[in-house]
């Protein structure tokens, strides 16, 4: 018993540390309660730039090749597959289309499968199709417009984080971005502003990025 090392100082240090941690936790709680983070929001601007469309869902992004989409849609309409607002396959990465010829509301898109879409990690890979489609955008004449799924469903979660990552990446190439939330109930629509005023696709950027 006589050979026991005195643990007084160690106990002292440990109890002090516990006390400091308690104080730190309390301060943290009070501080967190009053702290407000300011999110700087990009503002939409009228532009002459032409939109290049993308869809973000879960952790995946799909660039939309409008030429292929129009070709598929034309074939389906010619074959009468689009009558009565019927949903038809576009043969394009699990996308389905819908046309309401009476209302001139453009093409509505429905996503059935995203397994073939590129993951956001592919942005950094020079060989990926997603990277190539982005680097083909000319920032002087074009901008990227995202339809971002805002709801979680059985196929994927919302595409908010994928969109944020893509936006950050596109900024490196000085490419402007715009977006709108979409969902299964409120599908993405691509149409012409000349027929419908709600068919406006605008880039949004911060004041400091104003050209």
């Amino acid at each position: 018993m006589n050979n026991l090392i005195s643990l007084d100082s160690l106990t002292d240090i440990v109890s002090n540390s516990v006390g400091i941690l308690i104080i730190f936790a309390v301060i943290n709680l009070i501080h967190d309660d009053s702290k407000t983070y300011q999110l700087e929001i990009p503002i939409e601007h009228a532009t002459e730039l032409k939109p290049i469309f993308f869809i973000a869902k879960g952790d995946r992004i799909l660039p939309i090749n409008m030429t292929k989409i129009f070709e598929s849609t034309t074939v389906q309409i010619t074959q009468g597959m689009s009558e009565n607002k019927r949903i038809f396959p576009l043969d394009y990465f699990g996308l389905y289309g819908q046309v309401d010829s009476k209302e001139n509301s453009g093409i509505s898109f429905h996503v059935h499968d995203i397994s073939q879409w590129s993951k956001t990690q592919a942005l950094e890979k020079n060989t990926s199709a997603l990277h190539k489609s982005i680097t083909h955008i000319d920032p002087k004449t074009q901008f990227a417009y995202f339809f971002v799924y805002d709801s979680d469903d059985e196929t994927a979660s919302n595409g908010f984080e994928a969109f944020r990552q893509a936006r950050k990446y596109l900024k490196k190439y000085h490419i402007k971005t715009g977006w709108q939330p979409v969902s299964a109930e409120n599908p993405m629509i691509i149409c012409d502003e000349a027929f419908n005023e709600s068919c406006t696709y605008l880039p949004a950027y911060l004041g400091k990025d104003t050209p």
């Binding site: 106990t11 440990v14 941690l21 929001i41 503002i43 939330p181 709600s198 949004a204 911060l206 004041g207």
Partner: protein, 205 residues
């Protein structure tokens, strides 16, 4: 009993000091320390972060009218503070108009503050009348500021929460039909579910 007392007495008589082992206390302290550290780290990740939408770099004089779009509806946080300066800058006839808008907004803010529950539970449905009123007020204020040559412009900032897109689309659809809304600048940002609102801080601005 007598035997045990004798043994104890014998021990003390030998001049030995009674020393208590501190290991149980130490282990308790270390456990408490570990648990507290864990709670601290956990709380820093899971505590909802209070946010406020701004566009302070947008030329420096634009003021945000914040609208948060949630699955259950919307929460609108109108700016009030900067309106007093605008009121001082306009003609007497326009002062009354601005005062009416200020009172209307203060009433809306009071209603928000008096709602029980957390900030995220007080969303109200996006009524067309409300959207029309909001856009009309913004347009009137922007025009009065322009007329008085006062640097002030209000614009709409939308914070979209998961599943809140439908409410946002409804508001935008209504806005496309409104003449008042055409001149109003708009910003929108996706928000994470753990980002909550600080209504008191926001309305002070």
């Amino acid at each position: 009993m007598a035997m045990s007392r004798a043994i104890k007495a014998q021990r003390y008589n030998q001049g030995q000091k009674l020393e208590i082992s501190l290991f149980p206390f130490l282990s308790i302290f270390l456990c408490v320390m570990g648990v507290l550290s864990f709670i601290n780290v956990l709380s820093s990740f899971s505590t909802p972060q209070k946010i406020e939408l701004t566009a302070k770099l947008e030329h420096g004089y634009k003021v945000a009218y914040q609208i948060f779009s949630l699955p259950d509806g919307m929460i609108s946080l109108p700016p009030v503070t900067h309106l007093q300066k605008l009121k001082e800058a306009v003609d007497n006839t326009d002062k009354k108009t601005i005062e009416e808008i200020i009172q209307r907004r203060k009433k809306a803010i009071r209603t928000l503050e008096q709602q029980p529950g957390s900030a995220m539970d007080i969303a109200s449905s996006a009524d067309i009348i409300d959207i029309v009123q909001i856009t009309h007020d913004i347009r009137v204020l922007n025009e009065l500021a322009l007329k008085a040559n006062h640097l002030y412009e209000e614009f709409l900032l939308f914070g979209i929460y998961p599943n809140g897109g439908q409410v946002y689309q409804k508001i935008r659809d209504v806005m496309t039909l409104l003449q008042d809304a055409r001149s109003i600048s708009i910003g929108l940002e996706p928000l994470d579910p753990n980002w909550t609102l600080n209504i008191k801080k926001s309305v002070q601005r």
